[in-house]
């Protein structure tokens, strides 16, 4: 089964609902090692994406992602805004003007998104950022390319969960948490957590579709 623009839009709405639900959790994660705004930032941005989609859904999956990208860039602010914005923009570009996506397209979009985050933020795996969730997710998605979109996204979400969890014992080397040095150890990175939440929401949406 393929995935059209409307499916992508529905998945983004599901993602927005998840972020809204976890707003306080994400902000709380950002308190001990950051500035206590990640949940607010993400929620402001994804709520705006939903409003934008309410005005009308673009024709292709790529166009939907591009709308999401520019909305996130202009509404989220902070570090997460340009990073997620770039991720969505690169994913959109990778999809071109395809009207229906297959599993390979989704894996390629995830990879492109990750590359965008790395290009902007210069973080590598182990720096305790969203890259620690997104990078294993992109790998898992490529490995599950043959299993269909829903299974692929489940695998990616599982890998992202694990990757997010792996940030706990790390010394942060990028983002605000890095100012804490050794004191950043023992905390789940908020951006890694939001990445895992987003992928879980997409996987659930794809499973239900």
């Amino acid at each position: 089964m393929g995935c059209a623009a409307s499916d992508v839009a529905a998945a983004l709405r599901a993602a927005a609902a998840t972020i809204a639900e976890h707003r306080v959790e994400l902000t709380d994660l950002d308190r001990p090692i950051g500035d206590a705004d990640h949940g607010e930032n993400m929620n402001r941005g994804f709520a705006a994406v939903v409003s934008k989609l309410d005005e009308g859904v673009p024709e292709t999956p790529g166009a939907v992602l591009k709308t999401a990208a520019s909305t996130l860039i202009s509404k989220v602010g902070g570090a997460a805004g340009p990073l997620y914005g770039t991720a969505f923009l690169r994913a959109a570009t990778a999809l071109g003007d395809k009207s229906e996506l297959d599993a390979g397209d989704v894996a390629a979009a995830l990879r492109a998104g990750l590359d965008g985050v790395v290009a902007r933020g210069k973080a590598v795996v182990g720096d305790a950022t969203m890259v620690d969730a997104l990078s294993p997710a992109a790998d898992a998605a490529e490995a599950a390319r043959g299993d269909g979109i829903a299974a692929l996204l489940r695998a990616a979400a599982d890998a992202a969960d694990e990757g997010a969890g792996s940030t706990v014992p790390l010394v942060a080397r990028k983002g605000r948490a890095s100012y804490l040095g050794e004191r950043s150890v023992g905390h789940l990175d908020p951006g890694a957590r939001s990445s895992a939440l987003l992928l879980r929401a997409l996987a659930t949406a794809a499973g239900a579709a």
Binding site: T27, R31, P32, I33, G34, D35, A36, D37, E40, N41, R44, I73, S74, K75, V76, G77, G78, A79, A80, G81, P82, L83, R120, G121, R173, K174, G175, R176, S178, Y179, L180, G181, R183
Partner: protein, 333 residues
């Protein structure tokens, strides 16, 4: 949480309305996206000096818009960097053929958002440069990390870059003087209490009744180290050690000493700390030639102070002394 606000969602724009009402002779405010602009912008022939960042650090940056300092300020949500479209709006409102200098504090969010805005402006054919200020010695400097934060030095940089633009320097020269300031300025902060972000509703960190955070930033991020409260003499001396050893500042150097309140510290205590800092610098043979004392880069109601040292030469001293007329900093006019 008790705050004098209506709604955490609208706190920044509600506050900007008050700024606009109070200072309509100096500045105007655009609301969507939110930008504070010099009343007479764009000024023909003048390099536009633009800064911005999360709100909650007032008077930074909106309180420094006016003659001789910033042409525009871009206020983000509280403690959240503004988005590229807002920065772009500030550029568009102020930038002539003379170009613009963006002053960016070194936080991942600010750097990325201003970077994007700069690219958009260049694509529009404008000559827009950025400098990134990273004066906080509390954070280890390294290319493998996010690097040092931009803190108190930002105020001095905005004044001096704005003065360079005001005397008619071209963009290259404004940028060069800005880089000189960044090379010669260092800061360190401490907090006695945590700020409360309106939409969060509780303090950003917990501090025991006898604990202070040493090496604090300006966003309610915890500091580098938690230490027991100590007398002002010991605390100021600890702060100066961190500063003086960093640049380093030498015996015989002329400096500007900026003693800043993080927002909630009584002026009684701030001047007390300033007096100690002057005395201790004197004992080290460092000459305090200029000073600034007050709440100029804050973290909402956080109690605490920061000390900033800028090594002065004749050019920087002249630029510092030149007239300025903004809501928060004014002299010579």
């Amino acid at each position: 949480m008790k705050k004098i606000i209506n709604d955490p969602e609208t706190v920044v724009t509600d506050s900007l309305r008050g700024l606009a009402a109070a200072h309509s002779d100096l500045l105007r405010v655009e609301y969507d996206p939110a930008v504070v602009v010099r009343a007479d912008a764009p000024v023909r022939g003048r390099v536009a000096v633009i800064s911005g960042g999360g709100s909650g650090h007032e008077p930074l940056h909106g309180g420094f818009v006016g003659q001789g300092m910033l042409d525009a300020a871009v206020p983000g949500a509280v403690f959240t960097s503004p988005t590229p479209d807002a920065v772009q709006a500030a550029v568009n409102a102020t930038t002539t053929d003379a170009g613009a200098l963006l002053i960016v504090k070194n936080y991942t969010g600010d750097v990325l958002n201003f970077e994007t805005a700069g690219e958009l402006a260049s694509a529009d054919g404008l000559d827009v440069r950025s400098v990134v200020i990273d004066d906080d010695v509390a954070v280890a400097d390294s290319t493998f990390t996010a690097g040092r934060r931009g803190v108190g030095g930002t105020v001095l940089l905005e004044k001096i870059a704005g003065a360079a633009a005001g005397r008619g320097d071209r963009l290259d020269d404004v940028e060069a003087v800005a880089r000189k300031v960044i090379g010669q300025v260092r800061s360190i902060g401490v907090a006695l209490t945590a700020p409360t972000v309106p939409h969060v509703g509780e303090p950003s960190f917990e501090l025991g009744p006898d604990e202070i955070e040493f090496g604090i930033g300006i966003h309610g991020e915890p500091g580098r180290e938690r230490i027991p409260a100590e007398p002002a003499d010991a605390l100021v001396s600890r702060m100066l050690d961190a500063l003086v050893e960093d640049l380093p500042f030498h015996q015989g150097d002329d400096v500007l000493l900026f003693t800043n309140s993080m927002g909630g510290t009584p002026l009684l205590e701030l001047y007390l700390a300033h007096g100690i800092a002057e005395r201790l610098l004197g004992e080290r043979g460092i000459n305090v030639r200029r000073r600034l004392v007050g709440p100029y880069i804050t973290s909402l109601e956080m109690q605490g102070i920061s000390l900033t040292l800028l090594r002065l030469d004749d050019e920087l001293t002249d630029l510092w002394d030149s007239p300025v007329n903004t809501p928060a900093l004014r002299w010579g006019v």
